[in-house]
């Protein structure tokens, strides 16, 4: 059975990557994972994914924001939907998000995210991108 779509997870927590990967693979998506922003970007340039799940705080607190900027600046990648996933809800970190320009983010999710939500979002964004003929 061919995969419904190609999904990239960028998160420095390998356990989280593994769990989401297993879930989405069970729902017939092809899933790749990257442990940091730069690896994620190079994987995207290698093969453009249909959807990216992106962690905000990795090695640096704004690594996710940097990745999202890079995606929007790249003409090849700028139409890839991005879902930001983070466990940061504290107002202390709100200041870290740039407010002077729009972030290339389609949706924010707060960890822990019910696994069904990943499948639902993957289905929605991949279908939007590739409407059935």
């Amino acid at each position: 059975m061919s995969a419904k779509g190609d999904i990239l997870i960028i998160d420095d927590d390998p356990d989280f990557c593994e769990v989401v990967k297993t879930t989405l693979e069970a729902a017939s998506f092809s899933v790749r994972t990257a442990g940091d922003g730069l690896t994620g970007l190079s994987m995207m340039r290698e093969k453009k994914p249909d959807l990216v799940f992106l962690d905000v705080i990795m090695v640096s607190p704004t690594e996710g924001c940097y990745v999202s900027d890079e995606i929007s600046d790249d003409p090849e990648l700028c139409n890839v939907p991005v879902v930001m996933v983070t466990s940061v809800t504290d107002s202390k970190y709100i200041g870290l998000f740039p407010t002077d320009r729009p972030l290339h983010v389609d949706l924010f999710l707060d960890k822990p995210v019910p696994l069904g939500k990943f499948v639902e979002l993957a289905n929605r964004f991949v279908r939007q991108k590739q409407p059935p003929a």
Partner: protein, 459 residues
Amino acid sequence: MRDWLPFEAELIARIDWLIRLRWLAVVGTAVTIIAGALVFPGSLALVPLLSVTALIGLYNLQFSLYLRTLKIGPAGAVRLRHTTLFAYVQIILDLLALAALIHFAGGVENPMAIFFVFHVIIASILLQRPVSYLVAGLASLLFAAIGGLEYAQVIPHHPLPMVGREVYREGLYLATSTTVLTVTLFLVAYLATSITGRLRKRDQELLESMQVSRANSEELQKLNEQLSRVDEERTRFMVLVTHELRAPVSTIYSCLELALSGYASPEKAREVLARAQNRATEMLGFITDLLSLTRIREQAVQREQVPVTHLESVLQEVVELMKIEAERKDVFLGVECAPDLAPVRALPDQIKLLWTNLLSNAIKYTDPCGIVQVSLTQDAGQLIGTVRDTGIGIAAEDIPRVFDEFYRASNARLVSPHGTGVGLSIVRRIVEKWEGKVWVESESGLGTKFTFVLPRADV
């Protein structure tokens, strides 16, 4: 006016007021003399009276000019001396001028003698208490001198036209009026100096209480700033702790959800459960570290009650435990202790935690076939412990922050993604608690050397 002595500023302000008052007196006197001359033509010693009045006007002009130079001159003790002298000169000249006016207008018969009261009051306002009595004495003397000299006809008497009987020749009247004036002047001096003295005292108290309250408010502000720094630190700590705890809990939650959901095969479910268990174990370790950190922070121990601890015996204990992990990783763990080491004053549990954190870090971040070398020596005042490894090292930009709570160097994350960043802050807290120092030297990719010193308990 800010640099002026308080008394100096006050004195200058009052002299200014006195000079203005004197202009009023000059005008008032001139008008009275002219009115008197018009009502009783030819009966007043017009020329001497107007001359004295003009003289007062003249010296008042001089005074106002001099005051202006005083005001712009440099503040300080020298100017205060000049200003005080200036006040004396004015009071004496005023006394003499009034005495002259009285002499040329009826002598002891002139009721204006009572105006000496003003000089006494002015002296008590401007200068110190004894000066007021001196002025009262001098005024009484002047009055007595006028009366006496006119009585003895040493100086001429200038009668007042409205006084019918010439009383200046009556000895009893002279004695009585001089006594009454003297008593009045001394009483006024007493009353005026009492009131001004009390006011000055109150001013001084007010000034002192203002200084005290200013000092208090500065102290309060300092304490307040300290408190808000502590509060900020505590909030930062709480935010970091909750973040560090929330991330693994949400991952454990997701692992459990996956295992229960049916998305995963039974084998996969087992694998994610094992991952969840690992994360839970790590979390327990983290919480234990947090507790240690808090305990070191909070534990208040009287220095005399602290036992002496031998660093080398605790080290041997820790090395026995760490050997297993070092052998498993194929890392050589070497220990070198100088002979006859002095003890340190510190809680043995904390020393154990110190060695454990330094050694486990060194082993964790050293690749197989690497070396971890521990050494313990002493000098005249302190014990010196070092833990050197041939591990991944620390990047120069990370070195200033490695002892910060929850800080993890970027390369440390690659080796062990779930470390907590608490170990080295525990190390620093323990060493600082026992009045020692800890520092790190490292080169990325080549290795790291941690050194700590603790004061000897025997010196």
